[in-house]
């Protein structure tokens, strides 16, 4: 693919793509700026990486409008765009070789229940098991060894990687991606304590609903609701090993990093960012656009949108950072107090 062809490709997404240098050179793939070799395309989206512009071996860099490239434009070529990071993502997409999760059609070893309907162009992999009364949309791919229990509805263009388990009654929108080992719809953790110390199981008769454009990583657990639905709204992105408990609602476009745990009946707003290993007490609401730092523990509902929370218990980051600084200074505070006490006591002759 020539640099000129990459320029044309990016013009689908950006109003202005400016070429500096030779557009005829061939680009054979993307690379990180410090790993790049001749023939590679890379990018600089942040001024602090400008120092790499002079040293990279890439043949093409995608850069911002004001990148300091003048000195180097005889050595390599540049494409200037408004958002070089996203532009490079599109270039990555262009060069990525599609994975074959399952060959088109239904593998002869797949076991399909009764009354299952398939859209056009579905792929169901080896040893996949699909329960009764499921409905699988156009172009959806069900990986080998994936198990879908009865009554699951999946929309168009979904991709369930090998070894996903989807319990009965789950509803998936369009373009939902679920990576291996993730369990959707296992029972919520509900048991009623009895006077003798034992527990009676609370049947979990609800389900899980996952809306359009959600991507869910590997080995997550998303529990079905006790009654009603656990809901993952449109555009949510979930990393690996995340727990979403029963009856949660995760708002549109919220992202959740690895090993975070969202407790039962939590309502997370839209466009939130939940850091890795963060935790939540149960029945909490989070407003929109809240950022929760890694490892933070949200112990109560947070109603002010857009704030950044950190610590355990989580508090606004400014308060938390001040508290952490004071903690580091506790030692000198103690010394000051001791000195003052000695002075006061000394003066009074004690």
């Amino acid at each position: 693919m020539t640099i000129n062809e990459i320029k044309v490709y990016l013009e689908q997404y950006f109003e202005q793509v400016e070429l500096v240098g030779n557009g005829d050179n061939t680009i054979d793939g993307p690379a990180k700026i410090d790993d790049a070799v001749e023939g590679n395309v890379s990018f600089v989206a942040n001024d602090k990486y400008n120092r790499y512009i002079g040293s990279t071996n890439a043949s093409l860099l995608i850069v911002g409008k004001h990148a300091p490239i003048a000195k180097y434009s005889d050595r390599l070529s540049f494409l200037k765009v408004k958002d070089p990071y996203t532009a490079f993502v599109f270039v990555l997409q262009r060069f990525s070789v599609p994975q074959v999760i399952a060959e088109p059609g239904i593998d002869p070893t797949a076991i399909i229940g009764q009354n299952v309907t398939f859209g056009r162009n579905v792929a169901v992999g080896a040893y996949a098991v699909i329960g009764d009364n499921c409905d699988i949309g156009d172009n959806t791919v069900i990986g080998p060894h994936t198990v879908i229990m009865a009554g699951v509805i999946a929309g168009k263009d979904c991709c369930l990687y090998p070894g996903v388990v989807c319990y009965d009654g789950a509803i998936l929108g369009d373009r939902v991606t679920i990576h291996s080992g993730t369990v959707v719809g296992a029972d919520g953790f509900g048991f009623a304590p009895q006077p003798d110390g034992s527990y009676v199981k609370i049947p979990q008769i609800g389900n899980v609903e996952i809306k359009d454009d959600v991507e869910i990583g590997a080995n997550n657990t998303i529990d079905r609701a006790t009654m009603g639905s656990t809901v993952i709204e449109k555009g949510v992105k979930i990393d690996n090993l995340v727990q979403i408990a029963h009856n949660c609602t995760i708002g549109e476009n919220t992202v959740i990093a690895s090993q975070a745990g969202i407790s039962g009946s939590a309502r997370i707003g839209k466009n939130c960012m939940i850091g890795g290993q963060a935790g939540f007490f149960g029945h909490i609401s989070l407003a929109d656009k809240i950022q929760v730092a890694g490892k933070a523990v949200v112990t109560k509902s947070m109603h002010e949108s857009g704030q950044i929370l950190r610590g355990m218990p989580a508090q606004p980051i400014r308060d938390q950072l001040r508290q952490e600084a004071m903690l580091r200074n506790l030692d000198s505070m103690k010394k000051k107090l001791d000195a003052l006490e000695a002075e006061v006591r000394g003066r009074s002759g004690q």
Copy 2:
């Protein structure tokens, strides 16, 4: 099902069930009190939800003996019981449709090893693999794609959901439920450090024993013992993504919330409650009925039963809450100290 029939059903479990209102109305299913529509049954078990009694659209509420229902008994019916929460759980059980994990019998695609014995009425799902010398009790269900290695013994009425892996030699009691993706009996994490910095693997030749009435959620890991057994006692309930390391003993009726990690050789007492993401140092003992708050880190054995622990390191909750409060006040403490210092120094002419 009529309200009168629900009354009779609950009288199996409760000495007194008092009907207020019309018992002939038909109930078609349970619902949360704020989601309920006509024909639904719901419940109020806590005074703070009394405000919903006047606004719910449910046709039947299960309530406590002293619930303030007088004003509403012309609008909907009530069943008064001693423990409305548990009563509602029984109602949920009554209305829940049993999941079909696997059809009765042994699926022709299941692979069964040599010398395997099955009780009556066993169900083994598609592509399940059962190793040599296993013994599977009456009514036990092995889901599709579940793998049971050699020498596993499972009691009666167990249910292993699709995609469980049970390593060799595990022993399961009666009525054990294990959800998808859980791995029982993988090697404990034991390696002997060598002078050159490398490690020699410590063979893990023990097993896992899971006693009666245990329920284990999805994607947990319960490691086999180095020697002897990792033991999950009767009635234990484990959420999702929990780690139980080698040689642990988890006491009867203890519940463990999601993403908690129980380190090697820990001995957790009976009727404990371990919060989500809690952690433990190794070789720790916990007395009975201890509650460990979410995210707490238990760094030493705790011998006083019934206490509530919180924080890292975990301490009695009163101490921890006081400490958290003082932390929030560090700022004002520092100001006070600075003011006092200025006053003392000022007075002495410094």
Copy 3:
């Protein structure tokens, strides 16, 4: 096996193995020192367990050169070695019965892609699925239900337990062990935020490389790199439920305990020990031989090798322990301050 035979066996590994007592007795298996019965071998590697020497029912103890055994040598036998712990590990290895993960050969139900090459003596279990263009080395065992996508290379003597998923392009060295439920090579968590709050997926076109002698526990997630490789160096040992994000490098012989999470692009040094539930901010470097305590959060790169870190944010353990002690004393510090203030104010007539 007689004690004399065990002595000869250990002489493969240790220069000096001294027998005290009768070498003709038969040993039928290893046991923990307090569980041991007649015929068992156990060990004492730490003086604090010396008290068991007099009470154990074992017939043979492996002990250090200077263990106080004189009083007991008529009751049981001893083998004295330099490193009794490692010696006992070798004894455990000698007595451990090899697990049968899969029978030798390729199970007729396994599905093998095109252009797959197998070394000698490979075992591929029931329902395993191996994609196109894979290369599996001598003596490697692929468990039942394990899925290996296209283009995976595995060396000699590897063992993938049942239910592992290995995405396309992963490269495994020799003697790599991976336990059930672990997902190798799922997409890294990368999404480019867009002005409307939605995200564009960043294709993850890199892979995972796992070097020789690595052991990986159950239900871990090791993500593929965005570009280039996520690298697990030689001799690394990983427990269960651990997250290794995209583009990480884990240095040689580093061990990572359960539920730790290593964020994207982290570079962990050699011979580090990462405690359970520890967390890392992204793009962090750790020098060699650093120990990170359980639950610690490493928020910045740490360049001094050999240090021990604890707390959140993680700091050198001495600082952290002093800080924790001061925290516990905050109460008395506050009282002191209040008393001093009262004294100063009182004296000045306020």
